[in-house]
């Protein structure tokens, strides 16, 4: 009996362990090894830290990384600001069928692929697009208005793409907040703002933290939205990695960039958690 239980455990764990080792651990080891090679001649390689040095000595790469990180943080904050009221309404105010219907509305955009959603935004925002034409016909704009190919367009795309990943954890945590606690807050003379600040937000903190981490990581690792909606200057760090691998045949530098993205983004998440006095254990528990 005991042996059978053990076998069952092994069988259950095998897919997970295979997935972890074959698709995550081994490729990362390989990537690390590639990133430590430097091309010295045709088909000749040497072990060196040169690729990592390139990142820190070429201002372009650092600036691009910082730009990507700052815009991702901004997109996360924006998503939180928009997502919180939505989640609160769905979790606390809406009841029954309205609640499910509203939740479904948040889900609907994710039934089509990210590519199609991005094309949708391009149709809306472009110079000859729907919004531009609408503004002209209403008389708010004299000529065609170009809203595509700038950082604001990227921001719109990022927030739209990651909204669901913020709203879902928020709804889950907010639903567990009982209405009596909120009522008690008002009974004790609290204003709307102080109830929000001292009762609702502290309760929703695990949802806010986990939602923010997911959204931040998604934005940082997004490739499609910044490339398609962005303008002439809008370099995104993932774009750099792609072009090193595919266009430049420089896998060594690309691998180093990939590792730096992994390390630096982990550092940013860790720093943010420290800064806000949160910890992963608290969020998960």
């Amino acid at each position: 009996m005991h042996r059978e239980a053990k076998l069952g455990l092994i069988l259950l764990l095998t897919p997970f362990l295979l997935w972890l080792s074959l698709l995550i651990v081994i490729p990362h080891i390989d990537l690390l090894l590639v990133s430590l090679r430097e091309r010295v001649g045709v088909g000749q390689y040497e072990i060196s830290l040169g690729n990592y040095l390139t990142f820190f000595t070429e201002p372009l790469y650092i600036v691009t990384f910082l730009r990507t990180a700052v815009m991702s943080i901004f997109a996360t904050i924006l998503t939180l600001l928009i997502g919180f009221p939505v989640a609160y309404y769905i979790a606390k105010m809406a009841k029954g069928r309205t609640q499910s219907a509203l939740f479904l509305l948040c889900l609907v955009p994710f039934w089509v692929s990210e590519l199609v959603r991005t094309f949708g935004w391009m149709i809306l925002l472009r110079e000859t697009g729907i919004i531009s034409n609408l503004l002209q016909s209403v008389g708010l704009a004299q000529g065609p208005v170009e809203m595509l190919y700038n950082d604001a367009a990227i921001m719109v795309g990022l927030v739209y793409t990651s909204m669901l990943f913020m709203v879902v954890p928020l709804i889950t945590t907010l639903e567990s907040l009982s209405d009596e606690v909120v009522e008690a807050g008002y009974d004790l003379g609290g204003s709307g703002f102080s109830v929000l600040r001292e009762i609702i937000i502290p309760h929703a903190m695990p949802g806010i933290v986990s939602g923010s981490i997911v959204v931040f990581m998604l934005c940082l690792g997004n490739y499609l939205t910044p490339t398609m909606l962005g303008g002439k200057e809008s370099l995104w760090f993932t774009e750099l990695i792609y072009s090193q691998f595919i266009v430049r045949f420089n896998w060594e530098l690309g691998a180093a960039f990939g590792f730096l993205l992994l390390i630096l983004s982990s550092v940013i998440v860790w720093g943010m958690l420290r800064l806000t006095g949160q910890s992963l254990e608290k969020t998960m528990g």
Partner: protein, 356 residues
């Protein structure tokens, strides 16, 4: 429990056998460009030879990256441009030599076959034979921007805010020629090439203010030109001719500095498993009638001898309109790219993209 384990291992064994059986030598895994293996050609080939064809559409860079990732496996026939064969072969060893005795040389335009073989020779082995050729140059809305006659005209103030091009190597090469430099002559000398590229970089940064956006894919460019948001752009000849069939004002213009000529080839990946099917495919698609079907689908002419007769009159008329005799002589054919130049160009492209 024991019985279940046995069943499980049986299922795995059967699944393994089935998948091994499916990968017979008769499947040709073709890595190619959109339009080079139209469905009617594939169907005809499958009916005539009994082989089956699996088509994967890609582009130069992705083809090489894919083959590099597997050491030349996963595909039986690939179609990179002729300038991207010798360098990657020397660097990564992803192709295998072509057995010219298995190719029917009489189907090819002799000068083209010879030139491609010369450009794709590494050591004493030939790695490529030509298939489809074409050029890149300018696509211009002649009603609104007829003054754009050369690559650097894209920087003119008349068309500021209404031009587009790709941030890729053809742009660097085209601008260099247009500035009176000869990048191809400097291919062998990294320092001289880096110098030319730094001049091009300065020019492209200067021109950046007037660029609407850097286009990424053919469809994006089509959208920009059709909507009139862009009136002049760098593009492939077929893109211009396709737009010309919708809007007679827009057409492909061979730039004064010369259109850039490319030849896409057939190469055998190093670990290809169906060489016979690959040779059969090459000899099949180079027949004039079949080559004409590919021309109809891709919009570009092939290296097949006599296929011109079967090409549509529309396409021929557009081709002659864009290419007067002297423009054909002025085409700058890409020589093989030596390994290592991509790194120089990559730095330039990154800095142009990041510049304000």
């Amino acid at each position: 429990m024991k019985n279940q384990t046995f069943k499980l291992s049986m299922t795995v064994a059967v699944a393994a056998m089935l998948s091994a059986g499916a990968a017979s030598a008769d499947t040709l895994r073709l890595l190619t460009w959109g339009g080079y293996a139209p469905e009617d050609v594939v169907a005809k080939f499958e009916a005539e030879t009994g082989h089956t064809v699996e088509v994967t559409k890609s582009n130069n860079e992705e083809m090489i990256a894919k083959l590099r990732a597997t050491g030349g496996g996963g595909f039986d026939l690939a179609q990179p441009s002729q300038d991207r064969i010798a360098g990657p072969q020397a660097e990564f060893g992803i192709y295998k030599p072509i057995d010219l005795s298995k190719i029917d040389a009489s189907l090819f335009i002799p000068s083209m076959l010879e030139a491609t073989q010369g450009n794709t020779t590494v050591g004493s082995d030939v790695y490529g034979v030509p298939h489809v050729w074409g050029t890149s140059g300018l696509v211009v809305d002649t009603a609104k921007a007829s003054m754009v006659q050369d690559y650097t005209d894209l920087c003119a103030s008349d068309v500021a805010g209404k031009v587009s091009y790709r941030l890729k190597r053809p742009t660097l090469i085209g601008f260099a020629f247009s500035m009176g430099l000869d990048p191809f002559a400097a291919y062998g000398d990294e320092a001289a090439y880096a110098d030319i590229m730094s001049q091009v970089e300065a020019k492209l940064i200067e021109c950046k203010a007037g660029v609407k956006t850097y286009w990424g894919g053919g469809d994006e460019l089509m959208g920009l030109m059709r909507s009139g948001e862009v009136v002049a752009s760098m593009a492939w000849d077929t893109g211009g001719w396709k737009l010309n069939s919708d809007n007679a004002d827009i057409t492909f213009v061979a730039p004064a500095a010369g259109a850039l000529g490319w030849v896409d080839t057939f190469v055998l990946p190093a670990k290809g498993k169906a060489d016979d099917a690959a040779y059969a495919w090459i000899n099949f698609v180079m027949q004039p009638e079949v080559a004409a079907m590919i021309t109809a689908a891709a919009g570009n002419f092939t290296a097949s001898k006599g296929a011109d007769e079967f090409a549509s009159a529309d396409l021929k008329a557009r081709y002659q309109g864009s290419f007067p005799a002297e423009a054909i002589d002025n085409i700058k054919w890409y020589p093989p790219v030596p390994a290592g130049l991509e790194a120089i160009e990559g730095g330039v492209l990154d800095r142009v993209k990041a510049a304000k």
